[in-house]
Structures are given as C-alpha cells and as structure tokens.
C-alpha cells in the first residue's frame, strides 16, 4: 500500500565513508573497524578487544559487518569470525543484540523500540554495545542456549571455556 522508504543512491556510501573517517581519526579505545576492500564499502572487518575484568580480557575478536544497500535506514549484520562462546552470539558467530534489530522486527518480542536500530545509530555505537554485551550477557534472549545454561548455572565453567577461546584467537 505504501512505498517502503528507500535511500537515495549514494547515501549509504557517503555515510559509510564519513563513519570510516571518524573512526580512523577519533575512534574509541579497544575498537577498530574499516572496509576489507576500499572498492566495496558494504563489507567491513572489525576487531574488538575483550573488556577488562571479564573472561574475555586479553582477547582480540575479529568480526565482519555487512551493510544493506539502504543503510542507514536498516542496520548492518555482525558476525564473529572467531570461535565465540557467549549467550547472545549464535553458534555461527552472528550477533543477536537489540541495536542490530531493525525497527518493527523484534524476534523475541521484548525489546522496546528505543533500544533498536535507528538511522542515528552508527558503527561506533554498535561496536561499543557489542563490547558491553561481552561484559554483561543478556540471558533473557539467548541466541546460544548452551552458553546461556553454562553462564547461568556454572560461572566458573563459563569462564574456563571463554578463556580457552581467547587463547585460540591469539594463536596460543
């Protein structure tokens, strides 16, 4: 009935370039991100440092960000390319976090619209959210049920598995 809003051509590229520039000049600590190939601005690679005082401390976790053509109206998807044992990360590495869910699409029916994607969010905000997600998992909406269970019932075991993964990502 109504035309779904679509971004003008070039909006996505222009916006992604601006964000890239900002991240290079003034990116927050513990995060780096940028296009894998400067010819394709829709595929990014990023690295996230494990937050301090968590089992993830000391690790550096690689992930890819895939942007849709109508970015920033729709959010990108994020997928860890290393092994990740975390309640909110699917076994294939896809991150399940409210800021990455487009508005109107709430798979778990618990997020308020305000926590979700909106055009004024940015790559930087996503990566910061993911970092705090690593520190504080949300076990109400588990993506990896096994990780949820271990995190809830046996925190020591959870720490052990995560630390083992950290060592693997560092190639130790």
């Amino acid at each position: 009935m109504y035309k779904k809003p679509s971004a003008k051509g070039g909006t996505a590229i222009r916006r992604l370039m601006t964000e890239y520039k900002q991240l290079i000049n003034d990116g927050p600590d513990g995060i780096s991100a940028g296009p894998i190939d400067e010819d394709n601005f829709f595929e990014w690679e990023c690295l996230i440092q494990g937050p301090e005082d968590t089992p993830f401390e000391g690790g550096v976790f690689p992930a890819t960000l895939t942007f849709p053509k109508d970015y920033p109206l729709s959010p990108p998807t994020m997928k860890f390319t290393c092994e990740m044992f975390h309640p909110n990360v699917y076994k294939d590495g896809t991150v399940c976090i409210s800021i990455l869910h487009p508005p109107g699409d709430d798979p778990n029916m618990y997020e308020s619209a305000s926590e979700r994607w909106s055009p004024i969010q940015s790559v930087e905000k996503i990566l910061i959210s993911v970092m705090s997600m690593l520190a504080e998992p949300n076990d109400e909406s588990g993506a990896n049920i096994d990780a949820c269970k271990v995190w809830r019932n046996d925190r020591a075991e959870y720490g052990r598995i995560v630390k083992a993964n950290v060592r693997k990502t560092l190639g130790l």
Binding site: T18, P72, I120
Partner: protein, 511 residues
Amino acid sequence: MSDMSDDYDDDYGQGSDDGFGYESYEGSDYGDDGNDGFDDVKPESLKRKPYEIAYEVLSVSDIQKQQDELIEQVSSILGLSNENAMTLLLYFKWNNDRLLEHYTEDPEGVLKKAGVSISDDDKFVYEIKPVEGFFCDICCEDREGLMTFALECDHRFCAECYRQYATQKIVDEGESRNITCAGDCTVVMNDSAIKTLVEPQVYGRYQTLLHRTFVLDNEHLIWCPAPNCEYAVKCDDVSAKDLTSVVPTVTCKCGHRFCFGCGLPDHQPSICALVKKWIKKCEDDSETANWISAHTKECPKCRATIEKNGGCNHMTCRKCKYEFCWICIGNWAEHGTSWYNCSRYDEKSGVDARDSQAKSRASLERYLHYYNRYANHEQSAKLDQDLYVRTEKKMTQLQSTSGMSWIEVQYLAQASAALQECRQTLKWTYAFAFYLERNNDTHIFEDNQQDLELAVEHLSLLFGKPIHELAELKVQVMDRTAYCNKRRENLLSDTAKGLAEGRWKYQVQVK
C-alpha cells in the same frame, strides 16, 4: 446520547421485531419501527427493555469529532495549544481526568514526561527549510540548499531522512502515540509536525492509527469485531465489574450483534463469565465425553474408566485388580460356575454397582444433555440461515405466483430473522441453564426456555413448507413470528431482571 441510542435501537436493535403493524396481535408490543410514519409518537413499547442497554455506534468521523472535543476541552482548561494538549492526551491514553490531576500537581514534570517541549515562542512553526552550513548526521549530506526539518528540540536532519524515519515509524511499526525526535531525545512528534513532514497517504494512516488508540484506550469504546467493519460502539454505562449483572448486547450499524463486554457474538442471556467457561468446557470435553459415554464403563470399585476391547465378560480391573462382570457390573465371584454368561441381573452387588455407576455417569449425561441442545440450536441456526437464502428466492417466486407485492412477502424475511435471533438466544439458554443451581427460579427459567423452544420449532416447521402452501399460511407465519419474538423478549427480560437483582444462583464461581 440517549436519544441517539434510541434511534439505533429502532433501526437496528429490533430489526426483526417490526411486525408490520401487528397491533391486533394480542399482547404484541411490536409494531413501530419508524417505517410507518409515526416516528414522532413513541409508544410505551419503545422504551428500553430490561435486557437492552444504551449505546451509540460511532463512525470514523464521529470518533474524530470526539477526539477533537476532548483536545479542545483540555487545551482550553490548561491554556495550551491544541497540539500540545493532544500530545498530553496521547501520553495519558486519552484519560483527561488523570491528565488534569497529574498536570495540576506537577505541570513541568508532566510536560517533560509526555515529550512536550514548550518553546519560548508562543507558537512553534514546523517548516521544511534550508539552513546555512548544514550537515545531516544520517545521510552525511551537506549540499547547498538542502531541505531540513526539526522539532522544538532543534535536532535537525535533512527533510528526506526525517521523512523516511517518520514514514517507517508509521507504516512499518504502526506507531502513532510515541514517535519521538529522530535524534536522541524524547520530544514527541505531534499531529502538525507529522502533517508537515510526511506524504498525505502516510498522514492518513497516522490518523487511522490514532483513532485506533483512541478506541482501544477508552474502556467505553470497542471496535465492531465484524470483518471489515469500521464502526466503533460506545457504551457509557457498562464497565468490567458490571458484567455479572448485565449482558450488554449491542448491534453495530453493519448489522453485527455482539456483546460489548467480551466482543463475542450475541450471547444473551448468559453472562460473559459463564460463556467463557462454557466455550472452554465444550472445546475440552464434548467429543471426549460423548465417546466415553458411548464406549466405556467404570470399574465398580475404583471408578477407573474401562474400555472393553475384546475377550469375555469376566473383567479384571488393571488398576485395583477387582474382578467384575461386564454385563451386570456385579462382583464376579457371585457368578459362581456360570462362566462367560451373566444371568444374575438382580444379584445385590450388581444392583448396587449399577446404581453408583449411574450416579457417576449422571453428571456426564447432564453435561451432554445441555451440550447437545446447545449444539443443535447452533446447527439449526446455520440451517435456517441457508434456508433464508432460499427464502429470498421463495419471496420472488411468491410474488409472481400469488400476485403478492414485495411488501406483502416481507413476512418471510421477518420470520427468518426471528428464527435466527431466537435460536441464538436458545443456544445460550442451555449454556446458562447448565450452570444454574436447581431452584424455583431455575424452574421458571426452564419453563420460559421451553415455551420459546416450542414456539421456535413450530415456526421453523411452517417456514420449511413448500412455496404454494406458504402463501396460505401467511397469517399463521406472522402470528408465529410475533409469538416467537414475544417469548424471546419475555425470557430475556426475566433473565435480565434476575441478573440485575442477583437472583440467579450458579453452581460455579463467577467473578
């Protein structure tokens, strides 16, 4: 308001009752539906009957009008602009009493929470305009002459991005009440901001959504549940706690009759709580109960339900190991040597066992008694509905074969409508009766029920007669139709009075 509702009652509430000037029929209260030109003379009979309630059917424009009136009222009391008054009302879910109460306590706090930003200019004007040296944070565009938009909070984005944002909120998310600024703040986009920004058809959608919240938030309003019906029904006198003493049945302008309390189709005389219990019970029980009743017996000792799927009559209960005879339900030991053969019908243990079995089956049978009659009327109503389709054909045939005019054959339509309504009522009398305690009032109720049932079956019989007989039976059909309606009215009036007086005693707890 009450005038209006009376009009609706006339036109819709008694569609079947307008017995073509049947004043001669003894005791008939029907006769004036306003078609005969005596609209201004309102006889006693048009007063609301005990089982009817005052209500009003609202069209979309009526809803808009009510919305506007409420906004006007609040803005004049608080001295705010209409837009801000509306945003406040939306925040308080159109409850102006609560709004005024909270506002007088803490005006600034309320405005802030509701997302109203009072700017210094008396009236902030939303406009789409270019701004010197502007850079849009969403699309990163900074072209000269770029059109921009902002709310009172001055979080400015380019108009295109803002429009897409608002359109997405309205169209994809179905949001209307709480569309906040596209930036990180809580200022709410009000009606005129939306109107300035989005395309006309999206604005139309926004208004529809607002109407929807207006109806859903108001406990005295309900949408007509009929498919594609756009009317809402307003009923001021009924609230949730009254539903044990009244069955608020309303008829929408689209012709759908339903209960204001629960939205289900007309279920007079049963109250909503019983209807809910009954429907649940029927879903759970009826088929299972039928099967149990037909195929099983109970162990005379432990009451386990047993199906005999082969073998001889010497039964041994799996559960309690009691041995009994399938035929007489008596203790097997008494059968002595006459194995595989039961000729001991009068033996004491057999008689006792059958007695107690009978008792435990009685409650099942009782339920099935009511259920079967309930289901029968439901089924018959469907058949009568099919019949009505054929009746229309009959009516045209009658016109040509007997030389009657269109007006003269309307009695068949009246009869059909009466059948439908009466069967609907009868159906629910059985659900109601199932839960009633046995006492004198229940007896009276069942007498009324029986009278109505007889009347309906008689009319149904006449109604099904072949076409050439129908013309001769016209007077009889009309008499019977009026009689059915009268019986229905009596039954409903008596039950409604009983409900209001709290006369009915139920076997179950109703809230």
